[in-house]
Structures are given as structure tokens and as C-alpha cells.
């Protein structure tokens, strides 16, 4: 089956490893908020907006910033997208159906969790929840899709 929007199957393993490592790092920062500042990689970067807590707000100009967190977040997003949307070994309409079903399911699951956060989580923890809600969509999809594909690939033969 021809699909233009999927990545080749050979990317699945490497992106999966990278996704797990960067995901583990992000979870670690939940418990240790200074984790990212332990590695210094300061660079001049272009900021569209950098409101600052104690300094005046800066818009559309160059600022000094530790880019470790940016790198981790970008690696996490890119590897997550590739891992989520790479082809199966045998790509056919059944895998497409499982992919679509899982995407719908993940969207519902993510919004249900998000609405629970709206109701039960407040102040800074809510901002953190908002950030995580962006990634959990992909995470829910990956978990559900791979579980279903695993079950499908191990479906019993009648012969």
C-alpha cells in the first residue's frame, strides 16, 4: 500500500530507543527541576518572546540561553513522531485501520486526561500538566497502536 506520510520501517527501532531515552529524561526533570541546568550549553539564540521572571520582557531579539532543554524536547518530539508514524514490516489496509483507530482513541484519551487536569489541577502544576498534555497525545497513540499491532501480529492462525 502506498502512503506518502509514513516513515520507512527501518527508522522504527532507532527512533524508539531515542524516544525512550529522551522521555525518561523528561520524566526525571519532573522530580528534579534543576536537571537541565546541570549541563551548561549556553548559546545566543533568537527569541520571539522571553518574558523573564525578574528581568524585563524581551521580544524579537537575541538572548543568551542554555539550549539543553530545547535539544531534549526537539529530539523527543522528532523521535516520537518518527516512531509513531513509521511503516510496519508489512504495511497494508489493516495496519492503516489500526493506526487510525488508535489516533482517534489517543485523542479522546488525551482530552479526557486534560479535562480532569482542568478540574483537579491548579496553578504551576496546571502549567506543567498543559506541557505534558502536548506529549501525552503521542505517547497514548504509541502505546495503544503498538499494543494493537502486537496483538494483531500474534493473532492465532486457523491453519
Amino acid at each position: 500500500m502506498k502512503t506518502s506520510y509514513l516513515f520507512p520501517h527501518r527508522f522504527k527501532l532507532i527512533s524508539g530507543i531515542l524516544f525512550t531515552i529522551t522521555g525518561a529524561l523528561l520524566i526525571y526533570t519532573l522530580f528534579d527541576s534543576t536537571a537541565f541546568s546541570k549541563v551548561e550549553l549556553n548559546m545566543k539564540v533568537f527569541a520571539i518572546a522571553d518574558p523573564g521572571v525578574f528581568e524585563p520582557a524581551i521580544y524579537f531579539s537575541w538572548v543568551e540561553n542554555n539550549i539543553v532543554d530545547e535539544i531534549v524536547l526537539l529530539l523527543f518530539s522528532v523521535s516520537g513522531l518518527i516512531f509513531a508514524f513509521s511503516k510496519e514490516k508489512t504495511e497494508d489496509e489493516m495496519t492503516s485501520k489500526i493506526r487510525l483507530d488508535s489516533l482517534v482513541w489517543a485523542t479522546y484519551a488525551n482530552y479526557i486526561v486534560f479535562m480532569l487536569c482542568v478540574i483537579f489541577v491548579f496553578s504551576f502544576a496546571f502549567l506543567q500538566a498543559l506541557m505534558f498534555a502536548i506529549f501525552t497525545h503521542l505517547v497514548f497513540f504509541i502505546l495503544r497502536y503498538n499494543w494493537k499491532i502486537y496483538k494483531f501480529n500474534h493473532s492465532t492462525d486457523e491453519e
Binding site: 508489512t90 497494508d92 489493516m94 501480529n153 492462525d157 486457523e158
Partner: protein, 66 residues
């Protein structure tokens, strides 16, 4: 939707895996179609029709509620 793929496959003396390879899907997909868990696309139905040399209507049939 009902289908006679399992019967046609037996007549043609093909395993699920062999049939899958001939029409470019996985063995599990054939299994799912035969079990009625998955309704194939028109393209796949026509490929099966050509392979078994039977019309699509002879292989697939609507059920009550379709």
C-alpha cells in the same frame, strides 16, 4: 459482511500466508478478513476476485444490518 475467502482459498489450495503474499497484505490481515473482523477495500476485493477468477459478488455478500 460475509465472505467465502476461506472456501475459495481451499479450492485454490492456498495457505493464508500464500494468499497474503499474492495480494500484498500480511497473513494476519487475511486471517482478520476470513474471521469477518475486517472488511477489505474495493482494491483488495478486486485483487481477490482476479486471483480466484470469480466476481466480487461471488466472494463477498452483504449481511442483515449492512
Amino acid at each position: 459482511m460475509k465472505n467465502r475467502i476461506k472456501i475459495e482459498r481451499a479450492i485454490a489450495n492456498l495457505t493464508q500466508g500464500e494468499l497474503a503474499e499474492r495480494i500484498g497484505v500480511s497473513r494476519q490481515t487475511i486471517n482478520a478478513i476470513e474471521a469477518g473482523k475486517f472488511v477489505p477495500s474495493t482494491v483488495l476485493a478486486l485483487k481477490l476476485s482476479r486471483l480466484f477468477a470469480k466476481s466480487v459478488n461471488e466472494i463477498f455478500d452483504l449481511e442483515e444490518g449492512d
